[in-house]
Amino acid sequence: MGNHNIQRISRRFRFLFRGMAIAAPLLTLAYWLCFNQLPVGLRPLQPYEITDLSWFSAMLAFLASLLPLCVAVFGLLTLSRLFLLYEKGVYFSMKNVELFKCLGLALLFWVPASVFYNSLLSVIVSASNPVGERLLVVSFRYEELAFLLMGGVVILISWIMDEGRKLEDEQAHTI
């Protein structure tokens, strides 16, 4: 694949990830604002039933979702910056390595953020239940395990990228 193709596709990915980073907070806000109108299939998959939420609970749920959302937006913006470098033809610079590390960390940080968010959500949606029916659910799902593995792999790739950067640096200084 030639440089031209890499740059062309990288530009598309950059726009896609930048767009997703902008759209994600807006869609999340819209999701919680319109939560009661959503079909059951679109509601979050939880081991407990989520009934209609009051406006206050929906806003609290939105605030709780900001935690994983921030991690996701950070990851998306990192991807966008990485593809900007590829678009410029920069493949093995120190900046690439740093961005790969940031991406790996974003994937790893997603796990505690997601676990904490799901726990907080269980408290928020059940807060109005009668005493004895309120919940605190702490769950670790396959999704979190997958993110943990992906984060580890991406950080390993960042180390390999660093080796590539050293090789390119040596190549650039070979006369």
């Binding site: 640096d169 040596e170 200084h173 070979t174 006369i175």
Partner: protein, 73 residues
Amino acid sequence: MAIIVNLDVMLARRKMRSNELAQRIGITEQNLSILKTGKAKAIRFATLNAICYHLRCQPGDILEYRDDVSSDE
């Protein structure tokens, strides 16, 4: 680096300018400057061969090992 590049000395002896040598051996002036200032990490045999040919010298005239210079490797 304990390896010293004496290219500027040889250029002065042969009364040749850097840009002329760069042009003759087919590398950029920027790369020749990297070589002259000792920032190069490696030199290709082809480049060394071309430098020696155009400056009518031996590799030892260009490259020198000095024990007293600290090595970063």
